[in-house]
Subunit: 366 residues, 4 copies
């Protein structure tokens, strides 16, 4: 089983390399009857696109999405939705020089070890450009979730040592108000300053992104391997440069006592009808108990490594194993969090849409 | 697609509840011709078993594994290996009192939200007892890996604030030398002391486990969703009580620069034959680049929340939504890391065995 | 991906060999809240069991089903249902003589070619005994279908040249009224006579079984690869000895004209509510159009080869390739259709239950 | 799990509707290092294309294949191969008239029953045009098989009552020598005459196609559900208009005795090396025993119903359930076998390539 598909009831398959003719995705399992236009997808692609600001890569891609199938008279038909994005600004000459070299922090030598051949142009399939298909599919997932009252929002919560304070409820407007995608304006300014400084030093910096899903009904997530926390972890860890995942209290739980960590269970007054709506007073569990959603906000965080491509000489070897020095000349973001935000949101939305449909099989007729 | 199976080429399906007749696993895809006996499985089950020491639960389960199929004349046949473990010490009376109550930190109300019914006896399917099947299957995975020169070893690296110092190469003997499964004797003593103290305070404590796989050949892991890091994250996050995952530098990468984080690529002198064996001087990447193994040790860490079941009154509601107080009376470990160690090793071994077989499809005839 | 699982939303995994400790099945994805007892399963197993009459094998297996998990207080919980059947009358001595020989018409040398080892006792995993797990799982599928008003009934429609006449609506009582499981008493008598004669000649005879599912709602089946006709074909062709599959007019369509074959579309008067219920006047399509159920009865037929094991000397070679003669001494049915009937019903029920649950994901909330 | 993907280790996902912007396929799991050019794919697409002769549809599609990914410097990289074919001659006006009508023999009302919406233009996703992606993927599968010495060839073996005589070894040249794709020239002439007559009567006729795979190594096919016979049945039954499947003696086995049907096992003199190469003297088993390939030619046959679209008034209802008459005006083949031949070959090749790669996981390192 090759690894280019994700999800079960809502399932995507991505294709395409950084410098080939195109990248894209086939979305299978989208419910019929959902209004869908290319603009719905374009909006999210534009958030992911390089060249948005000084702190992101200067590579220019207009990234125009074309829907090839699965939509008729403006609504989804239940058939596979194929979305195509042509590659435009693929300067292969930037990469010819590194054909025989392995870039540190990149997948160059592992792809060669795996396949015996590799597309050396800009990382080929290992390039973050592959995520175009994920973001396009995520836009559809968000539409499905929207009908169920579920929202997914991500933001940069840390760059180097600059951390965002706790915020009650973050809005898309707050996130999109600045190029680092941190909803707190002061922190955003400090992050931006740090990123510009790191760039001037020809270096890069690590970062963290938090993603919150609200309105998720209780009961999503499949025991025992496809727990919501497990599928969210896989989804987010499958994105290039992500090196850690946690939800709720996460790694902070290591130093905590059970008396501090257990969330008291309460009856929520916000419920409709006679049946009690159960919730928790605190949310150390990050909206997930036993791998299944509680109805409380789902809160996840990922750690993102500093960009591997930096314009400095690095120690490496060539394909014959001879020691060499390599200096990446491509155009790269010094910090990955800002452009990761829409990708991370997409991955969370894909997991939730999939589990929403899976849950329908279980209790669909009640 | 229900969620009780894991893996593709090497695929397991677990079944069973905490207080039902039995738990078990069906292992499908095990290569033929591998010597396998019940003792191979028993050895690992005995490490997972409760009642091993004062710091673990007093529940007594002999946990005897019976191989029902897939092994003939002492070797695997390539057919499914079903392994059965009968439940013995299932004191259902302990749990009858909580039939109408939701335990904080447990899956009680999320299972009810998901299925509309629940097996309230000891967590039912959500109980950590489900991991018996995983550990049994992991024992087989370890045998497959052993033939390829791959070892997997885990250990408790942190309990509360007590952290283990860095160690070069940990042995199974060091790990099994003490009940907390920390290879450093001094740290182990401090951890044990802390756990005993927490228990005396009728509380529980969080912890962390590190797992290292050595000898993994370069090239394992499938782009793009089934990256090794993604599948390892899913595997470990699917275990009850695990709330965070990282590999290599993990969350520490957030505050790092690219110049610090990139591992220089080198030619390893340990290679055989004429072809260069590539490696990295440092291992911030935790043995994985682009989601594919580098040949360096794979290093992962998980955060484990403090045990939810603690013998103190906790705030909750009953199934009608009325406020109630609940005091768990069952027998539970105050710290989960020690018994998690064999479970975590099993999950890592399952992922690696699966990817080893998957890689054979790709380059099997070369 | 090994091949011991079947289905997606309703998914089964079977295990076990003819002469090992046990055979069984894990059923994953069964909806919660369905009353289920061991008798529900036993009833179907008893229909499959050898030794029912003079025309079936004399092997005595009581085939007692034990439910190991997934059922609590008499109803399904949504968790995997593991069912175990111990092997009792496994006379391994019957088979030791053929350890070094390949039986014609059996999987002996293909298993060896595949795995390099084989369990030579009674066919091992290739034995029809593996279908015990399928029949047990099929009993659960039938219960799910029953709640939706779907019935599945199979019967022997041909043995050698003895063919059953067309019958309007066959009942289980008619089928079970005689040992050949042919609902027409006269045909049944002729079939039985033929089978007894074939047995007296130390030979075996081919046969055909027809299976009809009534009450299947329109809309089941997934374009384009998981069409209902494709999944039914796979399900039935996966049973040992089945060598052909057709639905509706099937192979008779080859000599027909379009004007004869197209079923006129009509409005059925049996519909409730204002919306028209569409049907077809004839049912050459066998209840399936475009791979999706029409609401008309689903009608499939399979061809079953004559039993391979016959008590006559057959030409073969041994494992060293030397010419040999082999005479099967085991106890075998001279005609396979009668005992295939419950197996075929089970396979059809498994496919329909799976597609019923899959359809819920598509239109679950309407 | 939606149904637009097929295969496990070699896995395809098709997309596209008859009258949408494009049809295509993503091929995942193709081994790296295989030379592949667009001409390899084009050659097969040209065989499937309409408008090839008087006996096929007059619809003109140049069907130009574009490879979007997965091939670099002329060889496959191991990454997904996306292939795009734009729709050109999509005369939607032909179909607007039937927007409110259900065509007999078509999926119109079943798609509506399934999804609640439908793309009424030319069958949409249910159109045989979807098979473009299968044929494109099959071209790649054939290349993989070619390296292993496996050939796959299909031909029209029956049209109405006109049957082809048995032939020893059919060549591609013989098949492509006439528009009906029957390798026997005399039969081909008779078939062509019958088809022209049927067309002149504004009718259509049923047909049968036989497909033979030679050089398949013994050992392919997975017990127990993914038997080679089961996967071949599913693959071929998933093609529109296929209503029956058999292999080897197939339905003729129903009237046979075991003494006639069992193939004597022999040592083949054609083997290399010291180990005996096992074969069978006859091939009633169609190259498959226990669901696993024997090394003998794999022989399968399918029944194809007469084309549903015929230029005559047919009885139907509209979407409100009112009785109506419909006369299909589109351009359609009066007999489907000739153009089915490359589709059937593709499906067989896809199954064999998948099982070839799956078998590598099992015995990849021996």
């Amino acid at each position: 089983m090759p690894g280019n598909s994700f999800g079960h009831s809502f399932r995507i398959t991505t294709f395409g390399e950084s410098h080939g003719p195109a990248v894209g995705v086939v979305v299978d399992g989208c419910p019929p009857g959902i209004p869908l236009a290319e603009e719905d997808i374009q909006r999210e692609l534009d958030r992911r696109r390089p060249g948005q600001s000084l702190i992101t890569s200067a590579r220019h891609e207009t990234d125009v999405a074309e829907i090839l199938s699965g939509v008729f008279e403006g609504v989804t038909t239940g058939c596979p939705i194929a979305i195509l994005v042509r590659n435009e600004d693929a300067r292969s000459r930037d990469y010819a020089a590194i054909k025989e070299l392995f870039r540190p922090g990149h997948a160059d030598f592992t792809y060669l070890a795996k396949y015996g051949v590799r597309d050396y142009r800009g990382g080929g399939r290992a390039s973050a450009r592959e995520t175009v298909g994920r973001v396009a599919a995520g836009a559809i997932a968000k539409k499905i979730l929207g009908y169920e009252g579920v929202s997914v929002i991500g933001y940069t919560c840390q760059v180097g040592d600059v951390k965002m304070p706790a915020m009650e409820r973050v809005t898309l407007e707050q996130v999109e108000a600045n190029p680092v995608r941190c909803p707190d304006p002061e922190t955003a300014a400090a992050m931006e300053k740090l990123i510009m400084q790191v760039r001037s030093e020809r270096d890069s910096i690590g970062s963290a992104v938090e993603i919150v899903a609200r309105g998720v009904p209780a009961g999503l997530g499949e025991p025992v391997f496809d727990k919501l926390k497990a599928d969210l972890a896989k989804a987010l860890m499958s994105v290039p440069a992500v090196v850690g995942f946690e939800y709720g209290s996460g790694f902070a739980s290591v130093t905590r006592r059970g008396t501090q960590h257990n969330d008291p269970i309460i009856r929520r007054q916000t419920g409709s009808g006679g049946a009690p709506v159960i919730g928790t007073r605190t949310n150390n569990a990050g909206g997930i108990l036993g791998g299944i959603s509680t109805g409380e906000p789902i809160v996840v965080r990922v750690a993102i490594k500093p960009t591997a491509s930096i314009p400095q000489p690095l120690e490496t070897v060539d394909t014959q194993g001879n020691p060499q020095t390599i200096t990446t000349k491509g155009r790269h973001d010094p910090c990955l969090a800002p452009r990761f935000v829409p990708i991370g949101e997409a991955m969370v939305a894909l997991v939730l849409a999939d589990h929403l449909l899976r849950q329908r099989s279980i209790r669909g007729t009640e």
